[in-house]
Amino acid sequence: MDASGLGAALRLVTDPFILFLIAAGTIGGVVVGALPGLSSPMAVALLLPFSLYLEPVPALALLSALYCAGTYGGSITAILINTPGAPPAAATAFDGYPMAVKGEAGRALGMAAVSSTVGGIFSVIVLVFAAPPLAHIAYSFGPPEYFALAVFGLAMLSSLSGEAPVKNLIGGCLGLMIATVGVDLTTGVERFTFGVPELFEGIDFIPVLIGLFAVTELLGQAQGLRREVKRIGLSALRLPTRADFWKVRWTIARSSVIGTFVGILPVEGGTLAAMIGYSEAKRWSKTPEEFGHGAIEGIAGPEAANNAATGGSMVPTLALGIPGSATAAVILAGLQVHGLRPGPFLFQEQPTLLYSIFVAMLLSNILFLFVGLGGAKILSRISLVPRTFLWPTVYVLCLVGAFGLKQSMIDVWIMLGSGLVGFVLKRYGFGPAPIIMGLVLGGLVETSLAQSMIIFDQQWTGFLGRPIALGFLGLAVATAAASPLRVLFRWIRDRIRPDGVTRGRDDS
């Protein structure tokens, strides 16, 4: 840890303007999280074009604060209307909503705020200590190691929670294909530009991010217009008691560690962390039968884990340039559009910027505790904002944000096209996150592969002589093969009778 960098960052972040941005990002994040359908990746993507008008430090402080607070904010709708504001809060609804139905919404919201804060702070501390040494290790990485690492990151898509592994991998590859549009840097040949000059430099991340996250969701909301949402009011706000906190202390501690570790794994984000946090909370509970009926540990477990994943996911994002989650991928895109190259050199060249991100995340985690506890009653009303006014406003922000980037209508068309295609893909089970991962990693994968092939004189076997690269490629193969192998083993097991006799064709 660089103490001088941390000191400089503290001085910088305590600048009133940056403090204001962190506070705005935190409140904005909580509000966004409290609005059904709006998620932190979408909010960060929407804010990205506007952050370009800021210097890198305030811009990234704002985005990081939004990320932390948005992850917590998702729990508000999960508890109050049984609709997680974002996927990482899905597990919170299992016990949060039953608690709200029993008139204990305030207790559930308070527990979510405290658990999220503890998980978030723990992960930021890990980030401060783990990211610099990891970046230091990455100093020795050459193009083959970076290629193998990026491939490992993409292979991790197969274990991403949600859709089928094969669909996630296809999504990642589609992202890589989008990244090939534009002039090839090695040869200067135009690829897939169709003669459109605006595409010569490639497709910008931002319109695609906005389209895939926001426009796709807008159309998804149009699909569910008739769906009735039952809201739970907060007539009397009763916060968690000291006994409640004492009961969940180990659940929070366990989930904080789990969430941070899962977050550090490339691509895996808060959703998986929250699910593991929930199931571990249930496994270790003395009263597992209460789970699903309003167990307070059922809120503490996933909430500590999903917020711990925010700091964890920033470790590979900043140290290696490999996103740890969908929102981290958007922040990574933000770093790149600000002309910064994440990875070891960022720690050498921009330590103050990095420590500013750490401090901003820490402050945001503390701040949303007060916003969450103090503003629970107001926040419960945010979910009442009619979507007939909310979503048109979101779309206008998409339109203006996509245009404002380069003041070009091509970006607006790309945003719309991404949104329409994203909606169709989502109908067929392809989520937006893998495509974003592929798009953000596309440049790194292609460049490092081309450089590796030049180093190895076009011999793929060259990777065999690079142990670190080989290790990452081995992990990538193991990760991608895990799911099909599981299916294969299950198939074999089903075909073999308990007495060990293979089932014949006639009795299948």
Partner: protein, 157 residues
């Protein structure tokens, strides 16, 4: 026959469409400018896209195979509101040049809520005025974004 095709699982349909996409994209790579091996250092511009397309094709075959082993799942039909919303948002982009961004935003603030079933005219009117005004203040005055002015430019001049 038609009924049989309709009974195919969505994964098989998605996989076949992706294979078509791969074929089309591969054909596009054959039309890319060729460069001497010396200049490309033996890594031609087609190398990476074709590698990725091969991956997509391979995974798509797996998706098709999986789809043919499963029976079609019942899915929610796409509601009319989705088509209307898609038409409005697409149409709005065509309107930006002739009408200008702010007027388009104002129209969107009327059309989208109406399409989504909002009938409180007063609130729609407030949104139609406040939204473009807020966009103008924040983006044009504070951030210096120059939006297409459209007919408003003619009115001002």
């Amino acid at each position: 026959m038609k009924r049989q095709i309709l009974a195919v699982h969505q994964d098989a349909v998605a996989g076949l469409v992706l294979l078509l996409f791969c074929a089309l994209a591969f054909w596009l790579t054959t039309r890319l400018e060729t460069v001497p091996a010396m200049l490309s250092q033996n890594v031609p511009p087609t190398f990476f896209p074709r590698l990725v397309l091969a991956m997509i094709a391979l995974l798509s075959v797996a998706l098709v195979a999986r789809g043919f082993r499963r029976s079609r799942e019942a899915r929610e039909r796409v509601e009319a509101a989705v088509y209307v919303t898609a038409a409005i948002v697409t149409g709005s982009i065509f309107l930006v040049a002739p009408l200008g961004m702010l007027l388009t935003v104002s129209l969107l603030a009327v059309a989208l809520p109406l399409c989504w079933g909002e009938r409180r005219a007063g609130r729609i009117a407030i949104l139609a005025v406040v939204l473009p005004l807020a966009i103008y203040v924040v983006f044009t005055l504070a951030l210096g974004v120059r939006f297409p002015a459209g007919v408003l430019a003619a009115l001002v001049s």
